[in-house]
């Protein structure tokens, strides 16, 4: 991995100097932002807002499921909440958070002055508020918001009311934003690295984002293609997915999951990168098996393209198809196991300390692994026939996405926030937030395994009384988890407003590594205007 040197190589400078070294004043700074730090901040704040909007939708769902019977919302609205919760959380909260982190950290970690395409960077961010205003605004049109699930399976999704074109347009906009963001990441990493930083010297977060960006470029257009065909089926008389016209609704599922499965890795590979940055710092050891981590990430990305049909075993497929998709899916456990082993080996005999980023990283390690194991259970065809569309699946993907992806984002914020703001946050409150989140996330999602194994279907507003107890526990966990996040906001806001001054290395007692720690805290508005030298 790269060793940072304070010496700057002026001969390698490829960027001109500016007279205006500070941010613009007023709202213009944000509307016309081209600075990667400003755009990163906007992505992160947008993501936080969406996290709370999507979280509120989840709480509507959990409040309705607190006890059997219909008490708070009508079933149609319940379905709108499940669908919108997923769309908002995936495309509005998790993905923009990672893009925000990429914007902030990739130029700092590769020693670049900014992203390679700063104006396009502005455009990719500002598309998002419009996309989500339209998507969330669909709650107020006749027929309500999309309610057929985030997977938009036809023919059900074709029954959406006036919200249908709004959904399709919003998905296109999100896709365009993601593709532009991904192009920016690839172009920056491939062309803007500091002299001496070969690919295998790049920080692991940069590596995981490079691979994620390629995944995005490959699969977001597939989603766009799928929803374009939904649109033409709806308005222009085509029958891609309509059996009556010679089309095939199952083909939509194949196309959707060809996007959908890599999408899962889009939401977890940057998380792997974050955890791989944090664990070595607080273990005071270099990352164990750096090269193996890179190859494992690439292997996971490759495998993600050949496992899509495990999401749809129950539609029926030839035995050979079932065998192939089952075994290919299980194969993913090998590179993922390499990663879990390497993180554990990094901590082994390390001088560990447990600051909030490390706590979240360790929690990630345990709880993501639980999500991985339930994924292996779901990969087994005959078992999947039993678990399919039950709460077991809901438990599985929430373990991967909440204590997996979301915890890694929180870990990243706790790790780099002092670098971004120049202030240390209240460690005690950070640890309290960690314990509340970890306890409640398990109270929330672990009982859903039991519910699923007992046969409770997903996406229903009412259920048989036999499922009452664990649903009540799960709902209590949901409200506890949701309320705990207010503490997270308080910690961030107080850190932005002031606090103890952070040193350049921030984690002086740890072993922070990489170019970002050679800069001041907060870093200058324009950093690395002359490229640093990496040995």
């Amino acid at each position: 991995m790269a060793h940072a040197h304070a010496h700057h190589d002026h001969s390698g400078a490829a960027h001109d100097h500016h007279d205006d070294h500070g941010p613009a004043k007023g709202i213009g700074r944000w509307l016309f932002a081209t600075n990667h730090k400003d755009i990163g901040t906007m992505y992160m704040l947008f993501s936080l807002l969406m996290f709370f909007i999507g979280g509120t939708m989840a709480l509507v769902v959990r409040a309705e499921l607190f006890k059997p019977g219909l008490q708070l919302v009508d079933p149609m609205f319940f379905n709108q909440m499940t669908t919108m919760h997923a769309l908002v959380m995936i495309f509005g909260a998790v993905m923009p958070a990672f893009v925000g982190l990429a914007n902030w950290m990739i130029p700092l970690q590769v020693g670049a002055p900014d992203m390679a395409l700063p104006r396009m960077n502005n455009f990719s961010f500002w598309i998002l508020p419009f996309a989500f205003t339209m998507l969330i605004g669909s709650l107020f049109v006749p027929g309500g918001a999309p309610a057929g699930g985030w997977t938009m399976y036809p023919p059900l999704s074709q029954q959406t009311g006036d919200a249908f074109p709004m959904l399709i347009f919003a998905v296109h906009l999100m896709g365009a934003s993601s593709i532009m963001g991904a192009i920016n990441v690839i172009v920056t990493i491939m062309n803007m690295r500091a002299p001496g930083m070969s690919l295998l010297k790049m920080p692991i977060f940069v590596w995981t984002w490079l691979i994620t960006a390629y995944l995005l470029i490959a699969v977001m257009p597939v989603l766009a293609g799928a929803v374009t065909m939904l649109l033409t089926d709806h308005y222009f008389g085509t029958t891609f997915f309509e059996a009556a016209g010679g089309g095939d609704p199952v083909m939509f599922q194949h196309i959707f999951w060809f996007f959908g499965h890599p999408e899962v890795y889009i939401m977890i590979l940057p998380a792997f990168g974050i955890v791989s940055e944090i664990i070595p710092t607080f273990s005071r050891k270099p990352l164990f098996g750096y090269d193996a981590m890179v190859y494992a990430t690439a292997s996971i990305a490759f495998l993600s393209f050949i496992v899509w049909a495990h999401h749809m075993f129950t539609v029926g497929m030839p035995l050979a198809g079932q065998m192939f998709f089952m075994l290919a899916t299980m194969l993913i456990a090998v590179p993922t196991g390499v990663k879990v082993f390497n993180w554990t080996a990094t901590m082994f005999k390390g001088s560990l300390s447990f600051e909030p980023p490390m706590l979240f990283a360790i929690s990630f390690l345990f709880l993501f692994t639980i999500g991985g194991f339930s994924g292996l259970m779901l990969a087994i065809v005959p078992a999947d026939f039993q678990y399919h569309d039950t709460y077991f699946v809901v438990a599985h993907f929430h373990y991967v996405l909440v204590p997996g992806a979301v915890f890694s984002i929180m870990a990243a914020v706790y790790y780099w926030l002092p670098k971004w703001t120049g202030h240390l946050y209240n460690m005690k409150l950070g640890k309290t937030h960690f314990w509340l989140s970890t306890i409640f996330v398990n109270v929330l999602f672990f009982p859903q395994h039991f519910l699923g194994l007992a046969g409770m279907p997903r996406r229903i507003p009412d259920y048989s009384t036999q499922f009452a107890d664990w649903n009540m526990v799960s709902s209590i966990g949901a409200f506890g988890f949701g309320l705990s996040q207010l503490l997270f906001v308080y910690i961030i806001v107080s850190c932005i407003r002031g606090g103890e001054k952070a040193s350049d290395k921030v984690w002086d007692s740890g072993r922070p590594h990489g170019l970002e720690w050679t800069l001041s805290s907060p870093p200058p508005y324009h950093s690395f205007e002359t490229a640093p030298e990496v040995k």
């Binding site: 001109d16 500016h18 395409l117 700063p118 490959a218 257009p221 293609g225 085509t238 891609f240």
Partner: protein, 41 residues
Amino acid sequence: MATEIRDPERKRGITRTVIWCVLLAATFYFGFIAMAVMRSH
């Protein structure tokens, strides 16, 4: 103000990478639609 890149070699590299990325995205978009068209009866 955006950081302008003046080094022509780096500029060429950036243009090349962008073109390849856009081509990759377009291939997947049109490729999948074309596949669906061919599969329709």
